[in-house]
Point group: C2
Chain length 544, copies 2
């Protein structure tokens, strides 16, 4: 028997309508290339989104069309988020930091016909333009006076488009399952893959983000997403902040600039900021150098990669700012787990506090986690067992855009394989221990490359370290340690002895290779893929 | 184009699974007739729910069957909530405070075949039993030793059923639109009407309740719902508290007992309690009499009817407890609006603070409000205009159970007419000014009976007051004031003079009637229906 309740769809449009009615005067503050600090109210943002929706229609955007953006976090990007998704299009954010060839590939694959760009990306787009098969119009997100000169024939000015557009737009009624946004993952292997978010997924994700044990977002908050809007919708902040009516501060291209960030935080009264560890490292260094204390910031949310415990402790001690770990993926809209301290945290011993903080946190309601072994058998939540991390839930992708076969990413029961290896403790705190492709499979058991690297790095004579698995006749794979030695450099034997008592005997690497430097990926991480290729034939001592 | 996201349904079962995994050790504390204070963990609750689901199946519960309850807030009622809804049944809570004939009518109308009751309601059910056409089994929620004697042939013992049931139950996969619960409104006119909640409605409602600007529910909270579980699912607390993993304290039949409530609050560390104003009045009186200060309670949520400002202020001043107004209805699952102080509240002048606190609060995201005039034209949100309050949203009923015609309750655009008259200010704070049927329609304009009653009550010579509309040749209706005079009694002219300067001239009542007492409804409110009937032919001065 069906319930007798209304069936209003959860859509980005319903979010906009609510905010317009309940929080019309709340502010959005934005740094752009052509403004120092630009400031307006939600209602101005949505009024301009309505004009933009008319402009999009005039430029030929149909229902379901992808509208691509190459842009930083600013008010015009916000207008695009709402104008495109609420008028039935798909807001397709593209990461300008990718290799130009990847950007070209993505724009082509998504078949976007409209491309909105920040002025600073025009040189990039000019180079790509001849190869872009589907783009009909390029709109530079700028005022008319600041428009850069270009030889491209199909370039339009954002502000001119808005001026010419009608102020009134009849927002359509959309279905919750309609696609609203598209973001490509930049995998280290193979082509990028597109994650196609539905309105329902983004709205449920927004509800979940606001909860007290998650982002704890309220109307009195001032939120600064330092995570880019081209990176999984800035972790959903452009929706969740609008849902609760929080003030939003958008740093434009100034994301990596500690001084600008600190200035924005103090000037605008920022209470919560979100970003990857490198951003916080930069900010912390600036704050130390300038002996500056942040006035209002009390919480940051850190994801993307693990935040060193020392940085968390430094923010707490030096700035009275609590750093929350969170974990997510493009495929998860992105939030999977969030680290809030459990009740009674303050009374815990220091090492238990440290263990909890280093974890990626607990699954938010809506997300199911499991860890499995090679046979897809569930492993216990005991904080020890680790296995492939799989997830399920209404904001997890069921497949990739224009991919018909999802068997590589999803198992037969529909769980998404994150590619991460993790353990989960009895209280649900999940800790990423490795990537599936980096874990070393020795005699049917798994060895965490990250755990071994952390031990190596704790030796004073090691500047950088990586552990990879290399082929072994008897054990299939065995760990090989590569280090960039410091001064004085440790001996091979001293290095291996350093592992004794710190891990099980059979985890200790079979060999040590001393190198001058480690190869990096485009995003600055150690490229284990390159290392595996380079050391594929490395002869381990005692292996035949 | 559809998004490519998973389609996991939001169901009560997903809530149970999450809580079982993430919060197995969190406590539920319960007062029952056969226990002083009973205490167990979420996982015990859900383990017993699984046994109960097996027992329900053995008793013949099919998908979509209504399972009726006549019970207080206790752990067994929680088990029923989850066992029934998660196994595909409909948890049909019945208000034991209704007239027996209404209870009979409701059980008959819902065609429930199973009835679960607290032992104290057995005498009531024994009287009703011969007239109950569909009930096959009556289960007394008690242990075997405390089972009351009865001549009824079809009475079973709850604990015996559970003992005999299998511990493992395969919970089915349900659809989000499936019905999960049923609750009848007790309208003052006509038969009760059944509101049939879907899983989706209850889950979205639970998400919305947890938000920081709404109930602000977190894992570290200890929640005491003094609102009965037979009254709109205890305002959704049995779902929202479980969603966040809060400790739950259930007062059983001891809801009206200030001493028991205060004891539970202090012993269990209650941080948030919810209930109607009379409960808080009783608690406040007990606390004053015993000069007791509550240790841990910091917030209460008050709904059902308006909470006097003086009581809010007393709780704040005497107990350091903040009282939040909320407004809802059975038809709204129930939450419509919630009163959280806006940013900057502390700096507002005292009368503005008082005005805000007296309001019912702002719509939570998911609920749309509008106020309309007689022609269904929207009125402005200016804090002055008042009109019929209509609502829309995914947890608002679209019709009533077994009613095919919803034109009396829903307009052509699908908005639900609440029967309330309200104003809404520019910031979205909604204030109920009257019931639609009580407002006085004078010359095409509306006069609030409640506003006039409040003015009358501010006269020291008035003990009780009611204002009703009576027929008038020229103006259609005009207000008639009825008062129960105190000592000394005011004169008619002094009474009318009291309104001057306090309302527009044309709002001032046309006449005053002095009475010894005012007729009350079954729930203790002044029966304006009786008054309108009694004074239908009252001749107003100057009206022909």
């Amino acid at each position: 028997m069906q319930g007798l309740m209304m069936t209003q769809a959860l859509t980005i449009g319903s979010l906009m309508a609510h905010a317009q009615r309940l929080h019309p005067h709340q502010q959005i503050v934005s740094v752009t290339a052509d403004h120092g600090v630009f400031r307006y109210a939600y209602r101005d943002c949505f009024a301009r989104s309505a004009r933009l929706a008319n402009a999009l229609a005039r430029l030929g955007m149909d229902r379901g069309d992808r509208v691509a953006t190459l842009a930083w976090n600013d008010h015009r990007h916000m207008e695009l988020y709402y104008a495109v998704s609420c008028s039935g299009g798909i807001c397709h954010t593209v990461n300008p930091r990718l290799f130009p060839e990847q950007i070209r590939w993505i724009l082509d694959h998504a078949e976007a016909r409209l491309l909105f760009i920040d002025a600073m990306f025009l040189p990039l787009v000019e180079k790509l333009a001849p190869a872009l098969q589907h783009i009909e119009h390029i709109v530079v997100m700028s005022g008319a006076q600041a428009m850069p000169a270009t030889a491209l024939p199909n370039v339009l000015c954002y502000e001119t488009l808005l001026e010419e557009a009608d102020a009134h737009f009849d927002w359509p009624t959309l279905d919750a399952d309609d696609a609203a946004a598209l973001c490509y993952t930049s995998g280290t292997t193979g082509n990028p893959k597109g994650v196609l978010y539905s309105h329902r997924a983004l709205l449920l994700h927004a509800y979940a983000c606001t909860m007290p044990d998650v982002m704890n977002l309220a109307r009195h908050d001032v939120v600064l997403p330092v995570v880019p809007m081209f990176h999984v919708n800035a972790w959903g902040v452009p929706y969740a902040a609008i849902l609760v009516g929080a003030k939003l501060v958008l740093p434009g291209p100034k994301m990596g600039d500690g001084e600008t960030l600190a200035g924005l935080m103090d000037d605008e009264g920022v209470t919560l900021a979100l970003g990857v560890p490198t951003v916080w490292q930069g900010l912390l260094e600036y704050l130390r150098k300038s002996s500056r204390k942040l006035r209002t910031l009390r919480r940051t949310i850190v994801g993307g990669s693990a935040c060193p415990l020392s940085m968390m402790q430094a923010f707490e001690r030096e700035q009275n700012v609590w750093v929350h770990h969170a974990w997510g993926m493009t495929e998860l809209s992105p939030l999977g787990t969030f680290n809030a301290p459990p009740p009674g945290y303050d009374a815990l011993p220091e090492d238990e506090q440290a263990r909890l903080r280093a974890s990626q946190g607990r699954p938010v309601f809506g997300i199911e986690l499991k860890i499995v072994d090679d046979d897809n058998t569930q492993l216990p939540w005991d904080g020890k067992a680790f296995g492939a991390l799989k997830v399920r839930g209404p904001w997890v992708c069921s497949g990739y855009y224009r991919e018909t076969d999802n068997t590589a990413s999803h198992d037969a029961d529909g769980w998404f394989d994150t590619g991460d290896v993790a353990s989960i403790d009895a209280d649900g705190y999940m800790t990423i221990t490795d990537r599936t492709k980096d874990v070393i499979k020795s005699g049917g058991e798994w060895i965490s490359s990250i755990a071994l690297e952390n031990i190596a790095l704790s030796h004073p004579g090691v500047r950088a370290a990586a552990v990879i698995g290399v082929q072994h006749k008897k054990w299939d794979e065995r760990p090989l340690l590569l280090i960039v030695p410091g001064e004085p450099a440790p001996t091979r034997d001293a290095m291996l002895a350093h592992f004794e008592g710190r891990v099980a005997k059979w985890w200790i690497p079979d060999d040590v290779v001393f190198v001058d430097e480690l190869p990096l990926t485009a995003t600055g991480k150690i490229s284990k893929l390159t290392l595996r290729q380079r050391y594929a034939d490395h002869a381990l001592p005692g292996d035949g």
